[in-house]
């Protein structure tokens, strides 16, 4: 489950070789399409690792790929460059650190996201939240402290000053009068 990407790569980039034997064929009968890109119900079309509904994990998770938790995790999650989604049936008891966190289920623990935390309708979160952009939908239950991370945007470089338009001396300019042509 965790090495899905790796398996895909292995199969896809295997150098061409003579026709495999029958035993090899049976061993390698799994086509690449058996590892489809997982389209999650939470809107991500990227390949993500997932912890299924019936799984219970005791321990810490760290890595460099997106993760969807639909099962139960007791431990911390550390995905500093990726997105963590706690699905509707997901339950995390522990701290979470990720680039982006989306909670549809339950989290009991502190959350820190370098970018966005989204707590969806019906989600239940007990713990402190620190993020650049915390988003909390109506009817989500949240108990805890919220702190936004302020990102100081660099000030735009000052524009080079354009030369001022020449000042026309009204007195020096020749006085022109509208010419009226009379037929």
């Amino acid at each position: 489950m965790w090495n899905r990407n790796k398996k895909e790569d292995d199969i896809q980039y295997r150098p061409s070789s003579p026709a495999p034997s029958a035993s090899e064929q049976s061993r390698e009968a799994i086509p690449v399409s058996a590892y489809p890109t997982r389209q999650t119900e939470y809107g991500s079309a990227r390949v993500t690792a997932s912890i299924g509904k019936s799984l219970v994990i005791n321990g810490h998770i760290q890595g460099k790929e997106d993760l969807v938790i639909d099962g139960r995790l007791e431990g911390n999650v550390d995905l500093p460059e990726n997105r963590l989604t706690v699905g509707a049936t997901g339950h995390v008891q522990g701290g979470i650190r990720a680039r982006e966190i989306v909670v549809v289920g339950t989290v009991q623990g502190n959350m820190e996201a370098s970018e966005r935390v989204e707590i969806k309708k019906g989600a239940r979160v007990i713990g402190d939240l620190k993020a650049q952009r915390p988003v909390i939908e109506d009817e989500a239950y949240f108990k805890g402290n919220v702190e936004t991370i302020r990102v100081d945007t660099p000030k735009p470089a000052p524009k080079p000053q354009q030369p001022a338009p020449p000042i026309v001396d009204a007195q020096a300019a020749p006085e022109t009068k509208p010419e009226i042509k009379r037929g």
């Binding site: 915390p134 239950y141 108990k143 402290n145 919220v146």
Partner: protein, 212 residues
């Protein structure tokens, strides 16, 4: 709700940006002026977190602690206890300890909204006693008291800050009934606090700013 609060830094508000249903709140305006004088304050929001209040308070450079006291109360006490209106002192103590797990004088302000009216009186009093302990001296508390026992006003509301002067009240579902308070009983309710300032609105809603 699609609207977002106005940037708190703007000192004036044009009424054209205010969505329909929003109401002017002088207590909120007074409170915003207090919040603007400092940064990094710890503010409690006891009405349940919503995006508008989160954006407004954190936009002013403060931290927000959120809890939905009415929901927490419903989850802690049994239907039997609510029906009999009999609440054991130890149970109330447990609820308060579980809900307000803060060191003394650690908070700089509390947005109580209309929550106290939807808690049974002994629990509301216990909440207020604990708030007195956890609020720092000179800090403030904002509370609202509806005058009616029926109609839409007699339901708990989600109070959303539109901008420094405007609020929106969104009714929310709750089985709790309203407890009515007169001006006198509100003063008695906050007797431990240093001062109570009333702002009377057109609908006789009492807006109160209490100083610790």
């Amino acid at each position: 709700m699609n609207w977002r609060p106005q940037p708190p830094t703007s000192s004036t508000t044009s009424s054209s940006n205010v969505p329909a249903g929003a109401r002017r709140s002088y207590a909120l305006e007074s409170l915003t002026n207090l919040l603007r004088t400092q940064e990094g304050l710890q503010i409690l929001d006891l009405g349940g977190l919503n995006q508008a209040n989160l954006d407004f308070v954190t936009g002013l450079g403060h931290r927000l602690y959120a809890e939905d006291i009415v929901k927490a109360c419903d989850a802690f006490f049994t239907k039997q206890e609510f029906a009999n209106k009999q609440f054991d002192v130890h149970r109330i103590g447990q609820f308060i300890d579980q809900t307000f797990d803060f060191p003394d004088q650690s908070s700089d302000g509390a947005l109580v909204w209309d929550v106290l009216q939807f808690l049974p009186n002994p629990i509301a009093q216990a909440v207020l006693d604990r708030l007195y302990r956890i609020l720092a001296p000179e800090s403030f508390l904002l509370a609202f008291f509806h005058p009616e026992s029926g109609g839409p006003a007699a339901k708990p509301h989600s109070c959303r800050i539109i901008d420094a002067k405007h609020l929106m009240f969104v009714p929310r579902e709750s089985p709790r009934t309203i407890e009515l308070y007169t001006t006198r009983s509100i003063e008695r309710f906050f007797h431990k606090f240093a001062s109570v300032k009333f702002f009377l609105t057109r609908e006789n809603l009492q807006e109160v700013i209490v100083k610790r």
